[in-house]
């Protein structure tokens, strides 16, 4: 009896370890699987041509990702420009100024914002943001726009990355030891002066990690952007131009991709590129955050 229980424990231990190792390797399996499927196109075209050619004509066998990469960069960049100042101010307020009760009220609301599905964001964008840009914002600058544009995508994206940037940076700001701020306050600095010169400086690496996490989330977000950014395969040159970011390209062509030769391979290569870019950003920010955590302990 005794030995059977121990045997069970030992067998379970090995099986559980195998499953753990397997789940740790999923990232690699995904990268490998996508690489396998994108080999046919990599065998014919050099990677540089695929990434930097502007010619996207799948029927002629021309797969230039450049317009889509530019679309992604525009949408992500503008979204960050909108989100970062708002999020940092909010995070400083919640971590340094706000009463505990305010935090208890805002936390669940921000969590809820994170839980809203991206198609719902997209629908909201179509109903509210797109008409707003078409009828009010673009005419204000004397520009014609259908509303489906870089700026529409960016506004929706900015809202979608609020929660992650706020959440991580609040944690980081709160992890700055209170003694440090106390020293500054004791020298007669105002609260804001303390925040500006001491807290932000101390929290800088963590804040950068938070922003990078937001960036990678924005870079990979698909449905909402697909619904409001306009999807024209041309690199945008202004925020009122339509954009066609990489994830939108992948999602939008699932139907045709098996009927055109190399099309599926090109799209899975696009997924692989997306995976590697996001992986890169994620690893950087996670390593920073682990360092920050260690430096506190």
């Amino acid at each position: 009896m005794q030995s059977r229980r121990l045997l069970k424990d030992r067998i379970a231990s090995k099986l559980m370890m195998l499953l753990t190792i397997f789940s740790g390797l999923i990232v690699f399996v995904m990268a490998f699987g996508l690489y396998q499927r994108s080999r046919p196109i990599l065998a014919i075209k050099p990677l540089a041509e695929l990434l930097f050619s502007t010619s996207w004509h799948p029927l002629r066998g021309e797969f230039g990702f450049f317009p889509f990469i530019m679309g992604s960069l525009w949408v992500t960049g503008v979204a960050l420009a909108i989100a970062v100042p708002l999020c940092l101010l909010t995070a400083i307020y919640l971590s340094q100024y706000a009463h505990r009760r305010v935090r208890e009220w805002t936390n669940p609301l921000i969590d809820l914002l994170a839980g809203i599905p991206s198609v719902v964001y997209g629908m909201w964008g179509i109903l509210i943001i797109v008409p707003l840009i078409k009828n009010d914002i673009a005419p204000f600058f004397g520009i014609f726009s259908t509303g489906y544009s870089v700026i529409a995508g960016s506004i929706v994206l900015a809202i979608m990355i609020f929660p992650i940037i706020i959440h991580v940076s609040v944690e980081v700001f709160r992890s700055v030891p209170y003694e440090v701020s106390e020293a500054s306050l004791a020298l007669g600095a105002t609260k804001w002066q303390t925040v500006k010169h001491v807290v932000i400086r101390k929290a800088m690496p963590g804040v950068i990690a938070a922003i990078v996490l937001g960036l990678s989330r924005a870079f990979g977000e698909t449905m909402a952007v697909l619904m409001v950014a306009g999807n024209v395969a041309e690199a945008p040159s202004s925020v009122f131009d339509p954009a066609y970011p990489l994830p939108a390209l992948i999602a939008n062509n699932y139907g045709e991709m098996l009927s055109v030769p190399l099309y599926d391979s090109a799209l899975l290569l696009a997924s692989l590129v997306l995976l590697l870019v996001v992986l890169f950003f994620n690893i950087i920010s996670r390593v920073i955050l682990i360092r920050v955590e260690r430096s506190i302990q």
Binding site: R5, D9, R37, L112, Y121, W192, M227, L268
Partner: protein
């Protein structure tokens, strides 16, 4: 008032305004979904499948998407639980505190958590081709379970880490093996937290469109087998919003409201569970 006090107040004002802007976006989104969705919602909407094609037919509702989404998110959640629970218990019961495997697995979950859902969809598609599957409920379940695995595991890991060391000692002192300790003591102690993790993951799974667009497909009918395509609420919103017919667009608005209400319920229930859970934690 001195300059630095003016600066103090200006920035404090900016912070409050930013916070209000961010919170008001939430209100605005929820209001839009409600205003558009509520008039579109009626009994036929939630008890009938679309008639005459989901893209053009004016009659019928979104039952296909409701049932499809529940099957899909439910199946994916079950699959993810069976992996997550085992892995997380292994990390916390068997693995040593400074084990490289544990550190590596946790890091890899953190990284997986950030990977966009469209990549899971594309990877799910490569699995589908590899096994010769067509777009089906099963393929969707596999893609979504991979998507929610890191979310569930991280959340479970966090609650199981909070289980006090003494509980392990007490269990071992009674002669229990690690396996018995893991599933009979630790998992039970952390049960409310585990349920929260499961709920959060389910919510994420039911709301995701990009991972199922390649894998689960879309259909007018309710799937009766794992190998049939399945409609989902997010895709019902996405496809039906794109039609020129107002009656069909109404189905999209109704789907959005249903989906949002599901997410709201999950969020409230998991808050309650978390509160209950932290009350009993020995600190």
């Amino acid at each position: 008032m001195s300059r630095r006090n003016i600066e103090e107040n200006v920035f404090k004002g900016l912070m409050v305004v930013s916070t209000l802007i961010i919170l008001s976006t939430l209100v605005l989104i929820l209001a839009t979904v409600t205003v558009k969705g509520l008039p579109a919602l009626n009994l036929a909407m939630i008890t009938q499948t679309p008639k005459g094609g989901y893209y053009l037919g004016k009659e019928g509702g979104v039952l296909n998407a409701i049932v499809g989404s529940l099957y899909l998110a439910g199946g994916a959640t079950l699959l993810a639980i069976s992996i997550s629970l085992v892995v997380v218990l292994y990390l916390n019961v068997y693995a040593k505190k400074d084990s490289h495997l544990a550190a590596f697995t946790r890091f890899s979950f953190d990284v997986l958590w950030g990977i966009p859902s469209i990549v899971y969809g594309a990877f799910g598609f490569t699995i589908m081709i590899f096994f010769g599957l067509r777009t089906s409920l099963l393929a969707g379940i596999i893609a979504v379970s991979l998507l929610i695995l890191p979310i569930m595991s991280r959340a479970m890991d966090e609650v199981i880490r909070m289980v006090p060391e003494e509980l392990f000692d007490a269990s071992y002192a009674l002669g229990a093996t690690r396996l018995e300790t893991a599933f009979k003591v630790i998992a039970r102690q952390a049960l409310p937290g585990i349920l929260t993790a499961v709920l959060v993951a389910f919510g994420r799974g039911i709301g995701d469109a990009a991972s199922v667009i390649f894998t689960a497909g879309f259909t007018d009918s309710i799937p009766y087998s794992l190998f049939r395509p399945a409609a989902t609420l997010p895709l019902a919103i996405f496809f039906q919003l794109g039609t020129p017919i107002p009656e069909v667009q109404d189905r999209a608005y109704a789907s959005a409201l249903i989906l949002t209400v599901i997410i709201l319920i999950i969020s409230v229930v998991s808050r309650i569970l978390t509160k209950k859970f932290t009350k009993h934690i020995v600190k």
